[in-house]
Amino acid sequence: MTAAPRPHPVPTGTSVRLTVNGQPADLVLDPRVTLLDALREHLQLTGSKKGCDHGQCGACTVMVNGRRINSCLSLAVMHDGDEVTTIEGIGTPDALDPMQEAFVSHDGFQCGYCTPGQICSAKAVLEEIRQGIPSHVTRDLEHVSFSDDELRERMSGNSCRCGAYANILAAIREVEERA
């Protein structure tokens, strides 16, 4: 048998101020709490999903200060003062964002579990292309332009096991073409 247990220090809470979907959120958190769990468990914003908790699936994608990240790979206490946008801040059932509308009209989802992450990524991808940020498939680094392959490459961190990829692509393309 092992030796007698040693006492564990009680983790003390750390104060964090986030701005989530435009609203201030003051939290006192165990420093082990990920940004994803701060959103899902503490703020009860469960639109951001936990598919793997290891940065392998993209279901937890949110925007932090305008950039998309895997919120499961980031501790909440690292985000003091940051602005976080989740799927709940993109649109609501009564006021869908054009990207959400396009996902509905192109059936860009099935079970729906990866969908908030796909939508957050899709909106970020269009912005990244607009800003001229190149990707692995960009041929001319000086002129980054919209294409199906750019979308496929840039969306590849968001897994969809239902296999809605072709429809997701069609949805994003429609939003880009309408913009």
Binding site: P11, D30, D37, C57, T92, F109, Y113, Y165, N167
Partner: protein, 730 residues
């Protein structure tokens, strides 16, 4: 309602709402993150605690001791439940291996404890403080090829032995004799298994992620020795299943055990790295196929022998099923063997049987066509059959496989190019095709409809929507049958208070559950006809009105003094399986590129032409098929659980190690449904498509790679290491 003869004309034939491309009615919830999945039900009950599971670190043996003192003293910990605190829990018939209880370990990551704490972080940290002492049994053999030689007589099933295969094959003018391997695969639905459990007065409530509500309710009752009436299960949104959420799993059991001991509700999600070894997988198969034919391409002899892994008592992956029904041929020998391998439980994954079976059979058909010098499309057409080959008195209710092949060939621009004949710069181009067969079963299914005074209709059934589109096609069914617009239909699914449905599995969900709702709507129509003293068959329900000749009454009026409730279920007579064979068919066409230097494979386009009876909603049906095609690409190119032969577990047990297709892997996909009803199937004349979509796809990809490179790989998935040394010289 008993469905005991083929359907004739009925109200569903109007197809004003059914059959229309309606977008999903749950779309606004799913795209805004407001559809709440099991672990997210903060609303369900106050005071939820967090449970974190611990899985066994050995594949076989016994737990000798568990030292939980440190864990129990850790901050925030409320209680610890270990497998040594109880006997093995009673096991439901549908589970092949135990879920919890007792010292015996029968597979890696079998649940052995749950730590319950105030927060997730506290529970996780404390779970890692439990010290476990094992007595490990290392004598097992986990290698299927090795176990194949040790299969005992009672584990060999001869499905078909018609004519004299051995003589006919010996005399055949053209022969193929080849062995194929399909690997163990795992579902990897995006939402891990999760449950919240709460006990009140000896009653158990569970909010979970389940394809089959009533199976979960029954299994929980068995596990905890409860009356099924004392168990309540809810699962309105499910983040994918693919067969992995058919049966009760450890998440619900641990949550219930933790909640009982803590006296408070507890929620448990299986951590992703625990899902693969703790739950079920598709078994590995080794398939031996022999085909004999005349020089003209008529199959005379066909042999299919499959062996797959299962723990004792399981069914493995019988990959021979389609071979009994798909192609003609007088002399047939079809055998299935089960090798007892004590890996985690093998069980259903999307299109169990056919998905793996067609990976072998449809490559074999391609190889045979090549030997014959025939176009593989024409070879399949030449061996089509309209009756079951081993029992010619049984005919297919509807089989338009030849039409799938011809229509697909024309749409795709199929020219049957010679291997290695197409090139674009550094890329070798290949075209490949395959056929697909998948059965069309149906299960009893119940539903209740509640007409409200305000003119709305509430539909209640314990049917689940696992991404298949159940919410939408059921609402379409109710709208069609009552003449109400879609926005007046309120769907309530996935709740054990509602009538028991077919649930979602085996490609039976859509056909069965819509038939059950049809029955309930027919009952409602009959009640209304009685009130009107009219013949129900002459009433017309449209635009919110009930029309009887010149008389027209608003439907809502029938509920003006209180809701009107009708309930029924559909049951299927055995004519469906005795007189007929019901199945769905498809032809798949694929164009791929293979880099001549690096062997990198990039699919260019995919086409599937499907024959699946009446299509209830072309939007959701198409999504089912493209999803299947995508999973088929995974089967062809990347998906494989790697077995540690010594330690007996799946090594690549997370989403980094087990690779599934991502956006960049999937090209343009086209799906065509042949129009036409199958009145033998259900009153709605529909069959499922969700599993047809994956069936045969991997073989079409494999055949396209062969066509590009001239290299035949019979061991899936087709990864670079298996063919780069055989690529044509550059």
């Amino acid at each position: 309602m008993k469905f005991d003869r083929p359907a004739t004309t009925n109200p569903s034939d109007r197809m004003a709402v059914l059959g229309q491309p309606h977008t999903r009615i749950d779309g606004k919830l799913k795209t805004t993150g407001t559809a709440a999945y099991a672990y997210e039900r903060h609303d369900a009950v106050e005071g939820q605690l967090y449970g974190y599971p611990l899985g066994a670190g050995i594949a076989r043996g016994h737990v000798l001791a568990m030292d939980t003192r440190e864990a129990e003293a850790a901050p925030g910990v409320v209680t610890v439940v270990t497998t040594l605190q109880m006997e093995k829990l009673p096991q439901d018939d549908r589970n092949i291996v135990r879920l919890f209880g007792g010292p015996e370990i029968v597979h890696y990551h079998q649940a052995i404890a749950v730590v319950v704490a105030e927060t997730f972080e506290q529970a996780r940290a404390a779970a890692n403080m439990i010290r476990v002492t094992y007595d490990e049994d290392t004598s097992e053999i986990y290698n299927l090829a090795e176990k194949r030689e040790m299969v005992e007589d009672q584990d060999i099933q001869t499905h078909t032995n018609v004519g004299d295969f051995h003589t006919a094959f010996g005399q055949a003018e053209v022969k193929l004799d080849a062995t194929y391997v399909t690997p163990p695969q795992t579902h990897v639905m995006m939402e891990p298994h999760a449950s919240i459990a709460h006990w009140t007065d000896g009653r158990l409530r569970v909010w979970t992620s389940s394809q089959m509500i009533d199976w979960h309710r029954q299994a929980l009752a068995t596990t905890f020795s409860l009356d099924p009436e004392a168990v309540h299960v809810e699962s309105p949104f499910i983040g994918g299943g693919f067969g992995g959420k058919l049966f009760l799993r450890a998440d619900a059991v641990l949550a219930a055990l933790g909640a009982k001991k803590a006296g408070r509700p507890v929620k448990v999600a299986l951590p992703r790295p625990m899902v693969i070894n703790n739950t079920t997988h598709r078994a590995e198969t080794i398939q031996h196929i022999r085909i004999g034919a005349t020089k003209e391409g008529k199959i005379t002899a066909i042999f299919h022998d499959c062996v797959s892994n299962t723990p004792p008592g399981g069914a493995g992956e019988d990959a021979t099923n389609q071979t009994r029904y798909f192609y003609a041929g007088e002399h047939r020998l079809i055998v299935n063997r089960l090798a007892q391998v004590r890996l985690p439980e093998s069980n259903s994954m999307r299109a169990p049987g056919e998905a793996a079976g067609l990976m072998a059979l449809e490559v074999a058909m391609d190889e045979m066509a090549e030997k014959l010098g025939m176009d593989p499309v024409e070879f399949r057409i030449a061996n089509d059959t309209q009756v079951v080959p081993e029992n010619p008195s049984q005919k297919f209710s509807q089989r338009r496989f030849v039409e799938c092949l011809r229509h697909g060939a024309e749409t795709f621009g199929w020219t049957n190019p010679k291997p290695m004949s197409q090139r674009d710069g550094d890329w070798l181009i290949g075209h490949g095709m395959s056929g697909a067969y998948r059965g069309a079963p149906a299960q009893p299914s119940g539903a209740r409809v509640r007409l409200q005074p305000n003119g709305r209709l509430i539909v209640e059934t314990d049917m689940t929507d696992i991404g298949t589109g159940s919410y939408t096609i059921l609402a379409q069914t109710a709208a069609e049958m009552t003449g109400l617009p879609m926005d007046r239909i309120e769907m309530r699914l996935g709740n054990s208070s509602f009538p028991v449905s077919s649930g979602s599995g085996g490609q039976f969900g859509a056909a069965s559950s819509t038939a059950g709702l049809y029955a309930a709507c027919v009952a409602l129509r009959a009640m209304i006809a009685e009130r009107m003293q009219a013949d129900p068959d002459t009433l017309d329900f449209r635009d919110g009105q009930v029309i009887d000749g010149a008389r027209s009454l608003p439907l809502s009026g029938f509920a003006s003094e209180g809701e009107m409730v009708a309930e029924d279920k559909i049951e299927f007579g055995d004519f469906r399986s005795k007189e007929y064979k019901l199945a769905t068919f498809a032809a798949h066409f694929v164009e791929t590129r293979v880099n001549a230097y690096t062997g990198e494979i990039r699919l260019q386009r995919m086409l599937s032409v499907c024959d699946a009876g009446r299509i209830l909603n072309p939007v959701t049906a198409r999504s089912q098929v493209i999803g299947g095609m995508t999973m088929g690409v995974g089967s062809a190119l990347m998906e494989k659980l790697d077995v540690d032969d010594k330690r007996g577990f799946f090594v690549n047990h997370d989403l980094a190690g087990y690779e599934v297709p991502v956006h960049l892997d999937i090209p343009q996909q086209e799906v065509i449904f042949l129009t036409g009803d199958d009145p033998v199937s259900t009153p709605l004349k529909a069959k499922g498509v969700g599993e047809l979509g994956i069936s045969g796809v991997a073989a079409a990809v494999a055949n396209a790679i062969h066509n590009a490179t001239g290299v035949r790989v019979r061991d899936f998935p087709i990864t670079l290491d298996k063919f780069i040394d055989r690529l044509p010289p550059v």
